[in-house]
């Protein structure tokens, strides 16, 4: 019994260490964002800010001509439109395709293999032709074109997970609809999609987070406030020589807020969606 209690103490110790490991780096980012520059450039550091300084948040969230705020708010809008457009396009084309792959085997393996294969490819494998293509059609620095490029990442992911989820919907339900004289679109719209909605929501959320996270293509294909996304603007902010660490940190906190909040609320659904795809194979 004594030995058991000792291992419990060890477990609690590990739990505390784990919590500190998870929280500390991000908590420090939050603290930096509300500290004054003088606190952040003293040696040794002031771990607890001497006074609350939210000027960097104000600066980033205030619109003004050619200001950092204008850059940041535009980037926020661009990130949102690019991500939503990319996910909408991906879902519109993958849902019918995934249904066909799920219900009519045969070609399934080939397409699935192709999707998983593209998943493995690094963006550098096609960024050069994509760059030339965008330059030729005058689509550089364009949110819509960037959204289309994001489909290279999101589409294979969507088709794979959605197909796995349609597999879970009993075929008998559709057969009943066929007996009632339902056509293909009725089967899809009235039987499959309503049952698929929760899973579709999960897939859409994960795809949105992926698009929100994307940096490589955005860095390559955007150059002005009309299309630059948050990751690009933030990394530009941080690569400057000046040392307003609180401003950089505030940008990081603001960019993390949507995925972190969504993640903490929907953690169960997100993990389930991720696991359902692979484990059955």
């Amino acid at each position: 019994m004594k030995k058991l209690r000792f291992s419990r103490i060890l477990q609690y110790f590990a739990l505390v260490v784990l919590m500190v490991y998870i929280i500390a780096p991000f908590l420090w980012l939050v603290i930096m964002s509300i500290s004054s520059s003088t606190d952040l450039t003293s040696k040794p550091l002031h771990w607890i800010p001497r006074q609350l300084d939210i000027s960097s948040f104000k600066e980033l969230l205030t619109m003004g001509v050619n200001s950092r705020g204008e850059m940041f708010l535009n980037a926020l809008r661009n990130s949102l439109t690019t991500a939503v457009t990319a996910v909408t396009i991906s879902l519109l084309v993958t849902v019918p395709a995934a249904w066909v792959f799920s219900r009519y085997k045969g070609r399934k393996n080939l397409i699935l293999a192709a999707a998983i294969f593209t998943f493995m490819l690094p963006p550098v494998a096609y960024c050069i032709p994509l760059y030339k293509m965008l330059v030729r059609f005058n689509l550089m620095d364009n949110s819509l074109a960037l959204a289309l490029v994001y489909c290279t990442i999101i589409l294979p992911f969507c088709v794979w997970l959605i197909k796995e989820n349609i597999d879970d919907i009993p075929l008998e339900l559709e057969e009943a609809a066929i007996i009632d004289g339902a056509g293909v679109w009725d089967r899809l719209m009235k039987v499959v999609i309503p049952l698929l909605l929760p899973a579709l929501g999960t897939v859409a959320l994960m795809a949105l987070i992926m698009a929100w996270d994307e940096y490589f293509y955005a860095m390559l294909f955007t150059s002005s406030k009309s299309a630059m996304t948050l990751p690009v603007v933030i990394s530009n902010l941080a690569s400057g020589r000046q040392s307003n660490y609180n401003l950089i940190a505030a940008g990081g906190v603001l960019a993390s807020a949507p995925p972190v909040i969504i993640g903490m609320i929907c953690q169960k659904a997100l993990v389930k969606g991720l696991v359902s795809g692979g484990v059955k194979e």
Partner: protein, 291 residues
């Protein structure tokens, strides 16, 4: 209803195939074509065909070979650490401890922080003058002089790896934890009745049960890790002295900084082959283990 062939419904796949063809298929073919030419990024006149020259010089390019080594090493260290830490964390969070629900709720935090923010956050922490890490270690008396974590050739890659592990161990932990929570209670109870001790229950019941989901997590992470670009580029741009330059960064620099898309494409093709090779080796090892 019999399972018919795709025949009649093929039109429902067409939009997807069209988009994939335009943004994935055709660019891939073009990369292959470029790799046999000496095209430049902003060339207006057609480039000339140079055969295998780009590929031959790629294998003589020590910078490129060492960038492949960086990517391979990065993937190996990072994925191994994430799998070990992630599994240990999942096992801990599956125990009936007080406060475990709170920690579980925060487990998604590192994964949800965007890659670029993660990179910048750690860059601030590693800052040689005002970074939190230096200040902390100094105040604890562990160092007597501030260290340039990302500026020294022997510490930069390790520091980046540490930052990557912080973000991605949580993905592995969440996936393994989800599978642990679906482990049927009766199996454990039955083993207890049969007299199996804690260690035996772990080896013969828990481990085999979580391995499939652990494999999913590993494949996802290996694929991501060999492709690594963002975190390194934002933290060090491949420096110091190219010690952290990954294969993806190398290709990017060749194509877009040096404007040589012919040889850049050849490098990209070799990187793709390298990634496929790594995945195949991994799959082989898995299959052997299963037998």
């Amino acid at each position: 209803m019999s399972r018919k062939r795709t025949g009649n419904y093929f039109y429902m796949i067409i939009p997807m195939i069209l988009i994939m063809g335009i943004i994935i298929g055709w660019p891939l073919v073009q990369t292959v074509i470029f790799s046999f030419t000496n095209s430049g990024l902003l060339d207006t006149e057609p480039a000339s065909f140079v055969g295998l020259k780009n590929f031959i010089s790629a294998f003589k390019n020590s910078g490129f070979l060492s960038s492949l080594k960086v990517s391979g090493l990065f993937a190996l260290v990072v994925v191994t650490s994430e799998v070990i830490i992630g599994t240990a964390v999942a096992l801990l969070l599956n125990e009936p401890l007080k406060g475990v629900r709170l920690v579980r709720a925060f487990l998604i935090l590192p994964w949800a922080v965007p890659t670029v923010v993660n990179a910048i956050m750690w860059r601030l922490i590693y800052n040689p003058e005002y970074g939190a890490l230096n200040s902390l270690l100094y105040q604890l008396g562990l160092i007597d002089k501030y260290v340039s974590w990302l500026g020294s050739a022997d510490k930069a890659l390790g520091s980046i790896m540490f930052a990557d592990v912080w973000k991605n161990f949580s993905l592995v932990a969440m996936i393994v934890l989800a599978s642990l929570q679906s482990l049927p209670e009766q199996q454990i109870e039955a083993a207890k009745i049969d007299g199996a001790n804690g260690w035996q229950r772990f080896i013969y019941i828990t481990m085999p049960y979580i391995i499939p989901s652990l494999q999913v997590a590993m494949v996802l992470r290996i694929i991501e890790a060999v492709k690594v670009f963002d975190i390194i580029y934002v933290m060090t741009k491949g420096g110091p002295a190219n010690k952290t330059r990954s294969a993806s960064i190398f290709v990017y620099q060749e194509a877009f900084t040096n404007s040589r898309i012919g040889s850049g494409s050849a490098f990209a093709i070799i990187v793709v082959a390298f990634i496929i090779l790594l995945i195949l080796v991994y799959m082989r090892a898995l299959n052997r283990q299963k037998r």
